[in-house]
């Protein structure tokens, strides 16, 4: 029999920023966990288990969770570590959800974090796409450009931006949109972020023209379309239905109605099952979304979902993901964003938090999507980014790996009936 699970609090260590030279990794985690606990009636030792996740090649610490036993208040408690690339945060959340849904634990804290100022993000990201390139660069052709005349790392795939530009170009071709729509999406994200005290890149009243002034990195992606590398941690506390009254400090909690995840192929341009793998197709996202909606009892996502927090590592994905999540028709986003459909006061607000385009602490980002969707349901989004209508259902989405991992979480203001 299904066990219902609710999110009762969301904590951040503070605003996501580029550098936090003043605190260590473990101190950052502690701030987030204590912040989450402070918004509940929980005493710290009442948390049963912890799930932690980050992409550790960005800090150079192999098992950061081991170092942080005391700081995340987990001494002699179960701690599990999850890491799945960009979607780490939501995989962590799913793991924490299963910890409670299994019946084994009642109160679990999910923590996603990243401290990018301690490493070089592009090397970490490049390591996904083309580690072979790095071996080559180590022993052979000068791809870094250091000896002059080299291709530069951009030529070798350019970390994730190069790869994402394939996806963006294909998406524009299929949907009939143009680079101006990506500018609109990025501007919307930056403007939303300005109403979110925890977001990194805040540009009040950002306009598409402002974005269009930024240089192109790899067509059609501009500098203004990409996400920053942020430092920060997010902690979310999940509680089983029977214990919500005891531990929640608010009447409105966000119920986890359906979670699902999946993976497709990493390589681009191969033929699989008669289909050429194109990162803009994202069949897996549709499959996963359908599964999550089914578990959540949602028959018509277009009508039943009031807000979406999607993982937009690059601004074109603000347009792409709502289509793949079956919230709008395929190819509809360019027209819809022109009409303001995705605005904070639009029909379907997308990323009221500013999304990943405005804040990207990789290990935390997908968890922040869930956290922000939960805040919308709980009516607790601060700084002006609370959507001004009753949110009955929200969908949070995470993406990672090499355009292949997808995680989807559907939250609601009431639990699924058993």
């Amino acid at each position: 029999m299904r066990r219902n699970v609710a999110i009762i609090s969301v904590g951040y260590n503070g605003r996501f920023v580029s550098k936090r030279p003043d605190i260590s990794i473990v101190e950052m985690l502690e701030q987030a966990v204590r912040n989450a606990i402070s918004k509940t009636k929980l005493k710290p030792h009442e948390i049963d288990a912890f799930v932690v996740g980050n992409m550790h090649t960005f800090e150079g610490v192999n098992m950061g969770n081991l170092w942080a036993s005391e700081h995340i208040l987990a001494l002699n408690k179960p701690v599990m570590r999850i890491a799945t690339g960009g979607t780490t945060g939501m995989s962590v959340f799913h793991c924490a959800y299963y910890h409670v849904a299994s019946g084994l634990y009642d109160v679990v804290c999910a923590i996603g974090w990243e401290k990018h100022d301690e490493g070089d993000a592009q090397i970490g990201l490049g390591g996904i796409l083309l580690p072979e390139v790095f071996s080559l660069a180590h022993f052979g052709p000068d791809l870094t450009g250091k000896r002059g005349g080299g291709l530069g790392l951009m030529g070798g795939g350019g970390g994730s931006t190069g790869g994402a530009s394939f996806q963006a170009a294909s998406y524009l071709a299929k949907s009939g949109g143009g680079i101006e729509h990506i500018d609109m999406a990025a501007a919307l994200m930056r403007a939303n972020a300005a109403k979110n005290p925890y977001a990194h890149l805040q540009v009040p009243n950002c306009k598409p023209e402002d974005i269009a002034k930024t240089p192109i990195i790899s067509w059609p992606l501009r500098y203004g379309h990409t996400c920053p590398t942020s430092c920060g941690a997010c902690a979310v506390i999940l509680v089983a239905e029977e214990k919500v009254k005891k531990f929640a400090d608010t009447d409105k909690v966000a119920w986890v109605k359906g979670v699902a995840c999946g993976t497709s192929d990493a390589t681009i341009g191969n033929v699989h099952d008669g289909q050429i793998t194109d990162p803009a197709d994202q069949e897996i996202c549709k499959i996963v979304a359908r599964r999550a909606y089914k578990k959540a009892g949602i028959r018509n996502p277009k009508k039943e979902i009031q807000v979406a927090e999607v993982y937009d590592g690059f601004a074109h994905q603000v347009l792409m993901w709502p289509e793949k999540l079956l919230l709008v028709d395929e190819g509809a986003s360019p027209k819809l964003i022109e009409q303001g459909y995705y605005n904070l006061d639009g029909e379907l607000p997308v990323n009221p938090s500013g999304g990943v385009t405005s804040t990207n602490a990789i290990g935390a980002s997908a968890l922040v999507r869930v956290a922000e969707a939960a805040l919308q349901i709980m009516g607790m989004a601060e700084g002006g980014h609370q959507v001004d209508k009753k949110i009955k259902n929200a969908v949070a989405h995470g993406w990672g790996g090499l355009f292949q991992f997808v995680t989807v979480t559907v939250l609601g203001d009431t639990p699924v009936k058993k």
């Binding site: 999850i82 849904a101 995840c261 090499l402």
Partner: protein, 386 residues
């Protein structure tokens, strides 16, 4: 516990110093052959859980190219980045929730041929205190632990540590899937190069390349898939403090907590009587008596007596690591899955030359971090018997 979950099948790769197969090939071959053996397709597996470590695999998000090889293309998957037994635990949690009925868990580690374990372990230390000071690491931690044990129980000497190592090598030789190292004599081990005294070179488990895959299933599915299910009766997990200066390295509070939780779930009140054998994860021979006692399998301080009287031998009172444990090869990051598979073999009476008689209930253990900081314990029981 809502649902009974069983391990219904396994496939193991022979430990080797230098694998001819890439990690991708290991996952492919093991997963494919296991699915064929059980006569199911990859579509019958509801979720795939990987156990791999980016540092060890040398690439970010190391499962990016592995998911398809294990059969997870367009299917549900996730990755646990700790010792592989935790991936089994996650799969168990998923099945417990009722949303899944079957799960595949896999690991492939090239600890011997592809990466330098010492570097990976060095990066498990915090970067701002222990790593720069260079005093505490896995090896010095083991040295401290062994010394503390010897000080507390004066009849335990350096020679006994060598004897535990020799037992490991000797058992491993009986296990066809181990590295097949000819066991050095106790004298040779005792006189091997010192590393962090009292730990010596031959008392360190040898690194290996290895791979393994298991399938877990809920009771209803398990009965259809195999006549010999191995039931997971109890699980427990706990993470102790990172700081070596705040731990009693002999008592191992964190490990006791993990074991306590697993025993309670499995309804075990007296492990000494109710556990048939144990597969515990050790990096060093000196850890075996400490861990076995913290698990409650032997009296505290009985390390010398146990090895002298052969109480933990394959035909002893409670065999510990009848497969040889890590002394048959330590594919770092996945060793505990091999321990799990070896325990499953025992309970299904498929362990050939290292078979424990009348094996009914097993304890499987995994550790992460210096001196077993994070521990996971599982209790398994044999099914399919009258």
């Amino acid at each position: 516990m809502k649902r009974r979950v069983a391990i219904v099948g396994y496939k193991l790769m022979k430990n080797t110093r230098a694998s001819e197969w890439t990690r991708e090939r290991i996952y492919y071959e093991l997963s494919k052959s296991l699915l064929e053996e059980l006569e199911i397709k990859r579509e019958d597996i509801d979720t795939f859980i990987f156990a791999s470590n980016d540092f060890a695999d040398g690439r970010t998000i190391s499962e990016v190219y592995l998911v398809q090889r294990m059969g997870a293309y367009m299917r549900d998957e996730s990755k646990v980045e700790q010792e592989a037994l935790n991936a089994c635990l996650y799969a168990w949690l998923r099945i417990q929730s009722g949303e899944y009925d079957t799960a595949m868990v896999g690991m492939a580690s090239l600890a011997s041929s592809q990466f330098k374990p010492l570097l990976v372990q060095n990066h498990e230390l915090d970067p701002v205190y222990e790593r720069p000071r260079g005093l505490i690491n896995f090896y010095s931690g083991a040295g401290f632990q062994a010394r503390a044990y010897m000080e507390r129980f004066k009849n335990f000497t350096e020679s006994h540590i060598a004897r535990y190592a020799e037992k490991g090598y000797r058992n491993a030789l009986k296990n066809q899937y181990s590295l097949q190292i000819i066991p050095p004599s106790i004298e040779k081990i005792e006189n091997s190069d010192p590393i962090y005294l009292p730990i010596r070179e031959l008392e360190v488990a040898p690194y290996a390349d290895g791979g393994g895959v298991v399938i877990l299933a809920s009771a209803e599915k398990a009965k259809k898939l195999t006549k010999k299910p191995v039931w997971i009766e109890g699980v427990g997990s706990a993470q102790d403090t990172y700081w070596i200066g705040e731990r009693d390295l002999v008592k191992l509070d964190g490990l006791r907590e993990a074991a306590r939780r697993a025993y309670r779930m499995a309804g075990i009140k007296n492990p000494k009587k109710e556990i048939s054998f144990a597969e515990v994860q050790t990096f060093f021979a000196s850890e075996e008596p400490v861990i076995a006692e913290a698990l409650g399998l032997f009296e505290e301080g009985s390390g010398a007596e146990v090895i002298e009287k052969g109480l933990s031998e394959i035909d002893g009172k409670i065999p510990v690591n009848p497969s040889g444990g890590s002394f048959g090869g330590n594919p770092m990051g996945g060793t505990s899955l091999i321990g799990l598979i070896n325990a499953v073999k025992q309970l299904r009476e498929e362990a050939d030359d290292f078979q424990v008689e009348k094996a009914k209930r097993a304890l499987v253990h995994s550790q992460d971090g210096v001196c077993a900081q994070h521990n996971t314990v599982m209790i398994l029981s044999a099914g399919g018997k009258k």
